[in-house]
């Protein structure tokens, strides 16, 4: 019984290993948005030494995924806020439907990933900063 279990687990491991090897091999064809040279630069600065390009690609993909997740969350926050504005003022057609990455949305989404972003309340990063979204419309 134990032997069969161990055989199954070893087979499972073998499959996992081959799947992992396939994934790493597929990384050679995948072009991450963050270029290899840049990743290499930052990795080298932190003492990461690795001759394998696949690992550098892996780190690049991981970073890309992290940023994409954060940005997706921020986009959802942005959409939710815009739909709330539209709900408040149905009679008014929303002029600006552009999706803009703002500090508020970003800090909300980053908080879910354990990054606490705080910027001064009085810091005017844009002419309409500090105003209500409703008054921003006007």
């Amino acid at each position: 019984m134990n032997q069969s279990q161990s055989q199954q687990t070893s087979e499972g491991r073998h499959e996992d290993d081959t799947a992992l090897a396939d994934f790493l091999a597929s990384l050679m064809d995948y072009t991450p948005t963050i270029p290899d040279e840049l990743v290499e630069h930052y990795l080298g600065k932190s003492g990461f030494q690795c001759p394998d390009v696949r690992l550098i690609r892996l780190v690049a993909v991981a970073t890309q995924k992290f940023i994409a997740d954060v940005a997706t969350d921020a986009l959802q926050h942005c959409k939710a806020r815009q739909s709330a504005i539209v709900k408040d003022k149905r009679d008014k057609q929303q002029k600006d439907k552009r999706l803009i990455l703002t500090m508020d949305d970003l800090s909300k989404s980053l908080r879910e990933y354990g990054v606490n972003v705080k910027h001064q309340e009085y810091f005017a990063d844009s002419p309409s900063a500090g105003l209500d979204p409703a008054s921003r419309e006007e």
Binding site: F23, T33, P35, L38, Q49, I67
Partner: protein, 262 residues
């Protein structure tokens, strides 16, 4: 990216990391992050928000690298491996909880972070970087030597790997073999003194040979050196306490004394 035309440039605070990091790398990362945001669906981004996100990306990269390097170092390796990288990624994604405990099962692919990456790379579209980058850095241990490195910065010939800004290697002069011993003198380390010392040593050799005294090849018993008056025969004198050795003209062993007494 919304342009801040209305504001004076001086009002824009310097980026937080750009002061410590190289501006070039930070700017490149910002472009890459902007591309990612564009692919997600954003049409524009505020400059501070984009800068913050870039800062987070850089910190993410560096913390992965640091964690992986630490993991490799604690395992007694200098180069990081897949295990270290996956462990580092797992550690960083632990904020959202461990999806799978890969350490328990022993398989790397059971890691939730890796599984997410597999699906991400499979289903997300590739967005290559805006422009190809020139590779100016060394490829670390890739075995191919230097890749596309500017050849003007390096010495040609045998010393291809030596940059020009390094000082010239000291010249090693090989002298003629003396007494079956090959001696090499470094170019910059007091050649005259060395020569003088060698001359003295050679004189001593000559004196010893003239007197016909030789060291026994095999030292059978204890060899004692007499201190002080050796009857004009005994050799190494120790004067002025321990550590100072003064070579006298001749020397003798206790064994020879014994022989004489016999």
């Amino acid at each position: 990216m919304r342009s801040n035309r209305n504001r004076p440039l001086a009002a824009i605070p310097p980026p937080s990391t750009a002061s410590t990091e190289s501006d070039y790398a930070f700017t490149l990362t910002r472009i890459a992050v902007a591309q990612i945001c564009d692919s997600i669906g954003f049409t524009a981004a505020e400059a501070p928000a984009l800068r913050t996100l870039t800062d987070v990306a850089v910190r993410y990269l560096r913390s992965i690298a640091k964690s992986a390097a630490d993991s490799a170092n604690s395992a007694g390796r200098t180069q990081s491996q897949l295990v270290d990288t996956v462990a580092a990624m797992d550690e960083l994604s632990s904020v959202s909880g461990f999806a799978e405990a890969w350490r328990a099962t022993g398989s790397l692919l059971n890691s939730g972070a890796v599984k997410n990456l597999v699906s991400f790379s499979k289903y997300s579209e590739e967005i290559p970087f805006a422009k190809p980058l020139p590779r100016k850095v060394f490829s670390i241990g890739r075995g191919k030597g230097l890749l596309n490195v500017d050849s003007n910065e390096y010495i040609g010939g045998e010393g291809k790997h030596i940059p020009k800004w390094l000082p010239v290697m000291p010249v090693i002069e090989k002298e003629e073999e003396r007494g079956g011993k090959r001696k090499e003198i470094w170019g910059f380390c007091g050649k005259n003194e060395e020569m003088g010392r060698e001359m003295k040593l050679e004189k001593k050799d000559m004196e010893w040979e003239g007197k016909g005294i030789e060291l026994p090849l095999k030292r059978g018993g204890k060899v004692r050196f007499k201190i002080g008056n050796g009857g004009g025969v005994v050799g190494v004198c120790r004067r002025g306490g321990i550590g100072k050795r003064v070579l006298c003209e001749s020397w003798i062993c206790e064994e020879q004394n014994q022989k004489k007494s016999l």
